[in-house]
């Protein structure tokens, strides 16, 4: 179970490769077209598609004789019907509870006995299942994964005990900790009328009412080869994976797929404040959350928002940390976080942890002030080019991993991006200008822009202890 976090942010957060300097310069000047160099891809992934609609991405990596095998379904919590929140995630758990040729629990036990690891996670827009294992077991894991793509059949008693498990999961992840409850409430206030406002794990009452029939309906509607992406990274070639996939996944029949819909977030006229006071809270947290476009909705604006995030919050010398923590000394942390790898609306969060004695409202004002300063004074050229260079270095580091690249392709494709969006991300990011960044900042984050959608402001605060009654009661 995971909400797409920093890794899912963007093609930006985890990616790409260094650009040849000559190309970056050419982009800036928008000139010299006849010398356009061959564009280099980051991962050199190979792609295929089976007749039944299964998309295949292969990222060869020959460092060690191992592979990561992932199947991403283009369905998540946001595709649930109203009133059955948590069904996507509960189904993910039941996928381990018995399928064609496998008894309950046998899937993971078999993977362990072959020296591998496996797990799964659910997001708002996708559900993914993965195994990391020795390359000679690729056919075995494919056969097992294909078996549960259409052949899930958990026994009823397993459904009952697993329903208890997900309720324990909710208690452990959310109900035990006021920070998690605060995040859940703020998210619900931000995404009015939109499925992203429901927690992925579900609301407790609705989770307790989930049944196999509800899971089965969801499974039958969304799980099939034509709604899935197979991603394999590791010690293989594209041809090897394609041949095996054709043999194993190829015979599966496609399913009639409903259209993916997301109710729109209506215009907001009132400003909303979410305030959670709890006596167990000892460190306050303040936050301002904005609805902004995802990469899928508006690639150009999303790229600009990714660079904005880097400028404002890319480490201890970035604008927010430097201003609020180092210079003003009013907070112990401060940042900006963009969730842009979403099928529908993305969001942007400004946040800080105020030092004791600071008024939370003043810290919010200090965050706003940094946005105003950026808009008023613009972005120095050196600051922008340094940010772009850092983002491109992230691409080299992204290649220093087996499962990381598979994750990037999985969530990118499942949220509407293309292979080329991933492979050529450095070129797209290099083309972002200061004007692009200022434009999205004004449009979505400017505290003085009354035309924009108002943000949701959040305060997680220690509960005020009521003052003790005065020693001497008034006569």
């Amino acid at each position: 179970m995971q909400r797409p976090g920093r890794i899912a942010v963007s093609l930006a957060a985890a990616l790409l490769l260094a650009l040849p300097v000559s190309y970056a310069a050419a982009v800036k000047k928008e000139a010299v077209k006849e010398e356009a160099p061959v564009r280099q891809k980051i991962f050199n992934a190979e792609t295929f598609k089976l007749d039944n609609g299964l998309e295949i991405v292969v990222i060869p990596n020959h460092r060690a004789p191992v592979i990561t095998h992932m199947v991403w379904y283009k369905v998540g919590a946001a595709d649930e019907d109203h009133g059955v929140s948590g069904v996507a995630h509960f189904l993910e758990h039941l996928m381990f509870k018995g399928s064609e040729g496998l008894k309950p629990g046998e899937f993971s036990e078999k993977i362990r006995s072959l020296g591998g690891n496996d797990n799964a996670f659910t997001g708002q827009d996708y559900t993914a299942y993965y195994q990391s294992i020795s390359v000679d077991q690729l056919e075995t894991v494919m056969t097992m994964e294909a078996g549960r793509m259409r052949g899930l059949n958990p026994p009823p008693e397993q459904v009952v005990s697993e329903n208890k498990v997900i309720l324990e999961e909710r208690r452990q992840r959310t109900d035990n900790d006021p920070r998690a409850r605060f995040a859940e409430q703020l998210n619900a206030a931000l995404y009015i009328n939109h499925p992203y406002g429901n927690p992925i794990i579900g609301w407790a009452d609705e989770m307790a009412a989930l049944t196999w029939e509800k899971c089965k309906a969801f499974y039958d509607r969304w799980y099939g080869p034509n709604n899935a992406i197979l991603v394999v990274s590791g010690d293989v070639t594209g041809q090897q994976v394609y041949d095996l996939a054709k043999k194993i996944y190829g015979p599966l029949r496609p399913v009639p797929l409903p259209e993916r819909t997301r109710a729109a977030v209506p215009p907001l006229e009132a400003s909303v404040t979410v305030r959670l006071e709890d006596k167990t809270v000892h460190q306050a947290l303040v936050q301002k959350a904005f609805i902004v476009p995802s990469h899928h909705q508006n690639a150009k604006e999303s790229l600009a928002l990714q660079v904005l995030e880097e400028l404002m919050a890319g480490g201890p010398t970035s604008r927010l940390y430097k201003a609020l923590v180092v210079e003003q000394k009013i907070a112990t942390s401060a940042g900006l976080s963009y969730q842009g790898s979403m099928w529908s609306d993305g969001d942007m969060d400004l946040y800080a942890a105020p030092l004791p004695g600071q008024k939370p409202e003043d810290v919010i004002a200090a965050l706003d002030e940094q946005i105003r300063l950026l808009i008023k004074n613009g972005i120095p050229e050196a600051e922008l080019s340094e940010a772009l260079t850092r983002m491109q270095a992230e691409a080299v580091y992204a290649r220093d991993s087996l499962s990381g690249p598979a994750m990037i392709f999985g969530y990118s494709l499942a949220t509407g991006a293309t292979i080329d969006d991933v492979e050529y991300w450095p070129y797209n990011i290099a083309a972002v200008t200061a004007d692009d960044i200022l434009a999205v900042t004004k449009k979505y984050l400017d505290p003085d822009n009354t035309q924009k959608r108002p943000p949701v402001t959040g305060y997680l605060l220690p509960q005020e202890i009521p003052p003790a009654p005065a020693e001497k009661a008034a006569p």
């Binding site: 020959h62 591998g116 324990e168 208690r171 109900d175 900790d177 167990t280 201890p316 850092r390 080299v396």
Partner: protein, 449 residues
């Protein structure tokens, strides 16, 4: 703008590693006598270097300055030589160099990751941080506040609270009982002079251990070692702490917190990594509870009964103590049942040999899964460092594989009988559990205020 070498954009398919050994570890000694372990891998232009300073961990913190070693790790990358905090961090950031320091109870450590193209400056900045840290008042104050903020924030985290109490009670009377992250008041007493003295006394050439993985040759590393570490002094090694016997065994401590679950931690004595039966104990624990799905604890408590989202058992390896711990959480009303179910599995493991299937599954996983944890340069350097810090031989991974291969169900049962003893468990519960006979209430969190 910096020139980015064309190398970075080439995708050269290097041949796969030789596969007769788990890892091809090279031992390197610099002209100046500094030693390191190296695994070369030129497939990605990245270098990971990790290093440790033996004995320079939180166990050296004075009682009234708990958190000193941790604070050193927070401030050593906050300015060095001519560069103040912001200038130092800006150089790291602009060159995409990840340099950080860490501290646990026993040792101090550092981690560097750089692109090959920036390695020269990365090594210079690391040497500067190691030998000429500034400890300016501004970053020291900032890190003090960040630690206090972390502590205040952790006070809402029942897992953290439970671990704090476990350390305090299980290690009572020993320096390990201290809060190595500091307390709200002890952090106030730590200033730049304390950091300077701790650094001068405990970060030396003669308690140094180095591990490197990635895009670097043996010859190049030999020269680099002297550049990075050659300026360190020779120190008088810190006096080691005493060995520790687990305290308060048989007792159950409860910290009252109004949450819907009870957090459960149970610990009994464990086994040293140098003990001849250590690998057999790993096989036993794989079956018992380290493996998640398929382990007996998960099978009985999560899969059959739905009493938890997660339950694990794992070994604690410290210099002066070895433990075997169980961590889980369950809805409040199931607390007593949870504790007794864990003890049932303890007895079962002692009373019956594990099945042939369980034995084979454990062997295949423990041997076969190792390469999965070695797929990035940082992972590999981390393993090389931990082997050296624990004084393991360079062929340890091969020895380990042989010991596991030769294990029998009878061996595993013998070790279970010698090791497992639920009467020697100390238990800590956080929540509002009822009907726990003999429960000792904890009124106030130790070493936090």
């Amino acid at each position: 703008m910096r020139v980015i070498p064309a190398l970075l954009i080439l995708f050269i398919a290097f041949p796969a590693h030789a596969r007769d050994k788990v890892l091809d570890i090279q031992q390197v000694t610099s002209p100046g006598g500094i030693k390191a372990w190296l695994v070369e891998d030129h497939s990605v232009p990245v270098i990971a270097m990790q290093f440790g300073f033996r004995g320079a961990g939180g166990a050296l913190d004075p009682a009234d300055k708990q958190g000193l070693s941790r604070m050193l790790s927070n401030t050593m990358d906050e300015g060095a030589g001519e560069l103040d905090s912001q200038a130092f961090q800006k150089e790291l950031r602009d060159l995409s160099i990840a340099l950080s320091f860490g501290s646990d109870r026993d040792d101090f450590s550092g981690s560097l990751k750089t692109l090959t193209q920036n390695k020269k400056r990365a090594f210079e900045l690391t040497a500067l941080a190691l030998t000429k840290p500034r400890f300016d008042e501004e970053p020291v104050q900032r890190m003090r506040e960040a630690n206090k903020s972390r502590i205040r924030s952790s006070l809402t985290d029942p897992d953290w609270i439970t671990a704090r109490i476990m350390n305090d009670r299980a290690f009572e009377g020993h320096v390990y009982a201290q809060n190595s992250g500091g307390s709200l008041s002890s952090l106030e007493r730590i200033g730049p002079e304390d950091l300077r003295a701790f650094h001068k006394n405990n970060i030396g050439k003669n308690n140094l251990v180095v591990a490197v993985a990635g895009d670097m040759t043996k010859e190049e590393l030999a020269a680099t070692l002297d550049q990075v570490f050659g300026g360190l002094p020779t120190i008088t090694p810190p006096a080691p702490a005493a060995d520790l016997t687990l305290q308060n065994t048989g007792k159950i401590f409860v910290f009252k917190k109004e949450i819907p679950q009870t957090i459960v931690e149970m610990m009994q004595p464990g086994i040293d990594r140098h003990h001849p039966d250590y690998q057999l104990a790993q096989v036993m624990n794989f079956v018992l509870g380290s493996s998640g799905f398929g382990s007996r604890l998960t099978q009985e408590i999560r899969e059959k009964r739905g009493l938890t989202y997660g339950i694990y058992s794992y070994f604690i390896d410290m210099k002066h103590f070895d433990g075997l711990q169980v961590s889980t959480s369950t809805e409040t009303k199931n607390t007593a049942e949870m504790i007794s179910l864990v003890k049932v599995e303890w007895e079962k493991m002692k009373n019956e040999p594990i099945s042939e299937q369980e034995l084979q599954d454990a062997k295949s996983y423990l041997i076969g899964s190792l390469p999965l944890s070695l797929t990035s340069t940082g992972d590999i350097a981390g393993l090389l460092l931990s082997l050296q810090m624990d004084d393991m031989p360079v062929d340890y991974l091969e020895q380990r594989e042989n010991r596991i291969k030769n294990a029998t169900a009878a061996d595993v049962q013998r070790v279970a009988r010698e090791l497992l003893d639920s009467s020697k468990m100390i238990t800590v519960l956080t929540g509002i559990p009822e009907n726990i006979p003999g429960a000792v209430p904890i009124e106030k969190l130790p070493n936090v205020e």
